[in-house]
């Protein structure tokens, strides 16, 4: 922790409690990003553990390692954990750690809202997972298809934890989305026009819009399920004349943009890493940016491709099939531009580069199978088989490659330590091999007719060998992840010092010292180029005539380009060399408001009858208590001086 504390340039506190308090009340995007990172890493491990349980159960036919009820809880929570907590959490981590630095800002637009987003995320994730302790985790799949979530069909608390947990996480995401849209619009350094922004920031910007517009749809659908379960409404009850397909429409109108919420930041990471380790600018920058925008817009018009088999009729299926295939075009454009970025570059195969290259390799496979699903006649056979499982793991678990690329790439900025390259490469190869050997054969199983979401399967259908093979391979991925953890601990303890610019970076975050001081930039840099730092080092056109080291131009007198400058030792509120740097005060109100909301939501789960594990009407006391805390926190927040 000492290293983490140092990482964000905070003066050490005299006591442990004071130190803890400083984290609980922080509004600094860097510390919030680190908290997001630690939390989501924990969930990545939990989701991975759940994956191993699934693979153990499926390692042989007619296996009885898990009973069906447990298996259904495990696969449901694996999906929810990986999507909402691990990948979305890592995206929030990188938004916090990287976006303000890349645009030359001192913090996000609304620092306290940012803190609220994190605490809402943490408490929401706890509500979602509380089912494990309360006897019944959600077991309806991450998609929770009505009427499977009906209170008569499933009287356990599982769906209630599902509904309230996702609702809480949605609040966190919408708040984060608003915050980063405002940050990117308002807090860019002078001269950084939109088309000088680094591509990761662009993708974070687009993703933030997606979150703002997608999650409210889920929120409405979840409220309807909640009313059905708690108050006897009939939004999704076919027995009372409802059409349960309404849920699927709402869920996928959220759910497909959600896929791009997951993947666009990953594409942003790749677009940062490839140019740096090719020593070339990103090929076709505007095409990559516009492809991202185009994908985001299209993502709202493709939801029914999850529903080709529900009987929408040939016209709707044709239209949604075609709109879905259209997404393949901007995606292809991105992949080709990345490949052209590598073309004639000076490639350096560092660990982040390896993960980035692997992302391209596996994402291409996921893209090809995606277009296959979009082909309606073929999808009638593929849907709900392991072919789909293979597809979305090549996409979503493929994103994990981009996440690891991002971690290896930005880790030195925050710790001032390099991760070990040898362990990094071991991690990479274990993970890459394990990934392909686990998910690759799933394509075959799907084409051979193995349906998904099955806790057991009979012997003799030709599925036995490959299932056992996949289960064994999954442990290679686990082993790779373990190597990463060892690497991380080793780096924090004794990693080689990184300095400000270990990779010969191109963007503003590499100008400032590692770890960044509390105020990020002693002086806000004036930007005149895309890849501003590169332009400062090598000239606007990267003319090779300039010797790199000689042409390095310091940012300003106050803030030398690399090394632990004297500026980094200043506490945030102090004056940086006579210039007063204004930073927001810490606040505990965001934590209180988030806790109050989450407690109220837990109270809503507790409204269920005592026989199933709830508190019955007593639950209202919990709801009321949560509401009270929320109001108290919001009141204090409103009148707190911003500092």
């Amino acid at each position: 922790m000492a290293t983490l504390g140092r990482a964000v340039g905070v003066a050490p506190r005299p006591t442990f409690w004071g130190y803890l308090w400083s984290w609980l009340t922080t509004v600094d995007h860097k510390r919030i990003g680190i908290m997001y990172g630690v939390t989501t890493l924990a969930y990545l491990l939990i989701g991975g553990l759940e994956a191993l349980l699934i693979r153990l159960q499926l390692s042989s036919p007619e296996n009885t390692f898990l009973d069906p009820e447990t298996y259904n809880q495990v696969f449901t929570m694996h999906g929810l954990t990986m999507i909402f907590l691990a990948v979305m959490g890592f995206n929030a981590t990188l938004f916090n750690l990287v976006v303000p630095l890349q645009i030359g800002a001192r913090d996000v637009a609304y620092p306290r809202l940012n803190s609220f987003s994190y605490w809402m995320f943490l408490f929401g994730s706890l509500v979602l997972n509380l089912g494990w302790l309360w006897g019944h985790a959600p077991d309806v799949g991450w998609f929770g298809y009505a009427p499977l979530t009906g209170v008569n069909v499933n009287p356990t608390l599982g769906p209630d934890f599902y509904v309230m947990g996702l609702q809480a996480l949605g609040i966190s995401s919408v708040a984060a989305g608003l915050n980063f849209v405002a940050t990117v619009i308002n807090h860019r350094a002078p001269g950084m026009s939109l088309f000088r922004m680094p591509v990761f920031t662009w993708m974070a910007f687009i993703t933030s819009f997606l979150m703002i517009f997608a999650l409210p749809v889920l929120a409405i659908a979840l409220i309807e399920v909640m009313f059905d379960r708690l108050f006897g409404t009939n939004f999704f009850n076919p027995g009372a004349g409802a059409n349960p397909l309404l849920w699927q429409h709402l869920f996928w109108i959220f759910g497909h943009p959600e896929v791009y919420i997951l993947v666009l930041p990953a594409m942003g990471v790749i677009s940062e890493v490839l140019p740096v380790f090719s020593r070339k600018p990103l090929f076709g920058y505007p095409f990559i940016v516009f492809s991202g925008i185009f994908i985001a817009l299209l993502s709202y018009g493709v939801w029914a491709h999850h529903m080709f088999a529900v009987g929408l009729g040939p016209v709707a299926n044709t239209v949604f099939g075609i709109t879905t295939m259209l997404i393949g075009i901007p995606t292809g454009v991105k992949i080709f531009n990345w490949l052209a970025t590598l073309w004639r570059g000076e490639l350096r195969f560092t660990t982040p580069m390896l993960f980035a290259l692997a992302f391209i390799a596996v994402f291409t496979v996921g893209g090809i199978s995606g277009v296959m699903h979009a082909t309606v006649p073929s999808d009638y056979q593929q849907t709900d088989t392991y072919f789909v499982v293979a597809h979305f793991h090549y996409v979503v678990a493929g994103i994990v490659f981009a996440i690891f690329a991002g971690i290896y790439y930005w880790w030195p900025k925050y710790t001032n330590r390099l991760l070990d390259e040898g362990l990094g490469k071991l991690h990479f190869w274990l993970f890459f091999l394990g990934f392909n050997l686990t998910f690759g054969p799933m394509h075959l199983l799907g084409l051979w007719g193995m349906p998904r979401r099955q806790y057991t399967y009979p012997a003799g259908l030709g599925w036995d060998f490959w299932n056992a093979f996949e289960s064994a391979s999954a442990f290679l991925m686990a082993l790779g992840t373990l190597v990463f953890l060892i690497n991380a601990v080793k780096s924090l303890r004794s990693g080689a010092p990184a300095g400000a610019d270990p990779w010969d970076g191109r963007t503003l975050e590499w100008i400032i010292p590692s770890p960044p001081p509390a105020y990020n930039f002693a002086e806000i840099p004036a930007v005149s180029h895309r890849d501003e730092f590169w332009a400062r080092k090598y000239g606007a056109h990267g003319a090779p005539a300039h010797a790199p080291a000689a042409s390095r131009r310091p940012l300003s007198g106050h803030n030398p380009g690399d090394g632990d400058g004297h500026a980094s030792d200043n506490p945030g509120h102090g004056d940086g060399h006579g210039t007063h740097i204004h930073l927001p005060n810490p606040s505990y109100y965001p934590l209180i408001v988030a806790f109050g909301i989450a407690l109220g939501m837990f109270g809503a789960v507790m409204l269920r009858p005592v026989e199933v594990g709830g508190l019955g009407p007593l639950g209202w006391a919990v709801v009321g208590f949560g509401a009270l805390i929320t109001v108290f926190g919001a009141y204090g927040w409103s009148f707190e001086p911003a500092g």
């Binding site: 088999a309 000076e346 390799a361 349906p451």
Partner: protein, 317 residues
């Protein structure tokens, strides 16, 4: 279950063809992209030496147009053959001469009905659907509880089985006689994994003979363990959930057992319905041990009682 190899239905054949077409196209794209990636990785792994930089290329409009147009053409090449297929699947050929069946999905078994197979008569069976070879079958699907999905990969793709007012329809046929596996393909709760069924394609003559047999209820047993089993079926409450035609047992909760003796499996495709009655015995003795969470409770019957009931059920052919 393999739908990429030889299949038996017209729809499945069209789907198989399009899937192979996609796989070839996909393989070409895969080879091109991964090939270019590998080429870059092997060719440009070079330190250029201090002071020199690779060419700083920012982009090229012509290639951008090129790699926007080429994927568009690939998409067009997929859309062109797939749209007619989508519409052909929506309308059954030979609608007038088709065999009409009704499918009802239950947690976790299938009910099949042949409404008005002869005027005024309906045959109801469970988990095993008999169809005549070569004739188009039109299935109308509804659900008694949650969403299921009807899937016989060798014959056709999936269609969801939805509770409420939406009645979906699918057509399929079998070109060759045989037994084809079916599977619920939409997650439907605890025992989704064991909601299986079979479609058996018989020659038209065999099918006609089967229909004739099914139109008259099986004879009541007159003595021996089968008769005891018949009595127990009532006294132990089996008849409250199950229907056996020609008897007072008219329960509608569980599968119709009128033809249980001729079925090849028990418990929605889980246990073999062997001649010795071992499968039936295991099921009735403790259904929760075979298929945990299913709707049939463990009735706590003695082994002798179970054997009698099995003897009775075996006569229902």
């Amino acid at each position: 279950m393999d739908w990429l190899g030889p299949v038996a239905g017209d729809q499945a054949e069209a789907q198989r063809w399009i899937t192979w077409y996609l796989l070839y196209l996909g393989a070409a794209v895969f080879v091109f992209v991964e090939g270019w990636l590998l080429y870059n990785i092997t060719k440009f792994r070079r330190p250029l030496g201090p002071g020199s930089l690779p060419p700083q290329i920012h982009g090229h409009p012509t290639v951008e147009v090129l790699w926007t147009v080429i994927p568009t053409l690939i998409v067009a090449a997929i859309v062109v053959p797939s749209v007619p297929a989508i519409f052909s699947f929506a309308h059954a050929p030979d609608e007038a001469g088709a065999l009409q069946v009704e499918v009802v999905g239950h947690q976790w078994w299938w009910e099949f009905k042949y409404p008005n197979i002869v005027p005024g008569k309906t045959i109801t069976v469970a988990n095993e659907l008999k169809i005549p070879v070569g004739r188009t079958v039109i299935a109308r699907l509804t659900s008694a509880d949650v969403i299921h999905s009807f899937w016989v990969p060798k014959l056709s793709g999936k269609v969801d089985v939805i509770p409420g007012r939406q009645v979906n329809q699918i057509w399929f046929n079998a070109r060759e006689p045989g037994e084809y596996y079916g599977w619920c393909a939409e997650f439907c709760g605890v025992q989704h994994a064991q909601m299986r069924f079979r479609v058996t394609a018989l020659s038209p003559a065999e099918f006609e003979a089967w229909v004739r047999t099914r139109l008259s209820p099986p004879a009541l047993p007159t003595g021996g363990p089968a008769r005891q089993g018949y009595e127990l079926f009532g006294s132990r409450g089996c008849g409250g959930c199950h229907t056996i035609e020609g008897t007072p047992y008219q329960g509608k909760v569980g599968p119709n057992l009128t033809n249980i003796g001729e079925r090849s499996t028990v418990g929605a495709g889980i246990l073999p319905n062997d001649p010795q009655g071992e499968g039936l015995f295991r099921w009735i003795k403790n259904p929760q041990a075979v298929k945990p969470g299913n709707r049939m409770p463990n009735l706590g019957l003695s082994d002798d009682d179970v054997r009698s009931i099995v003897a009775y059920l075996k006569t229902l052919r």
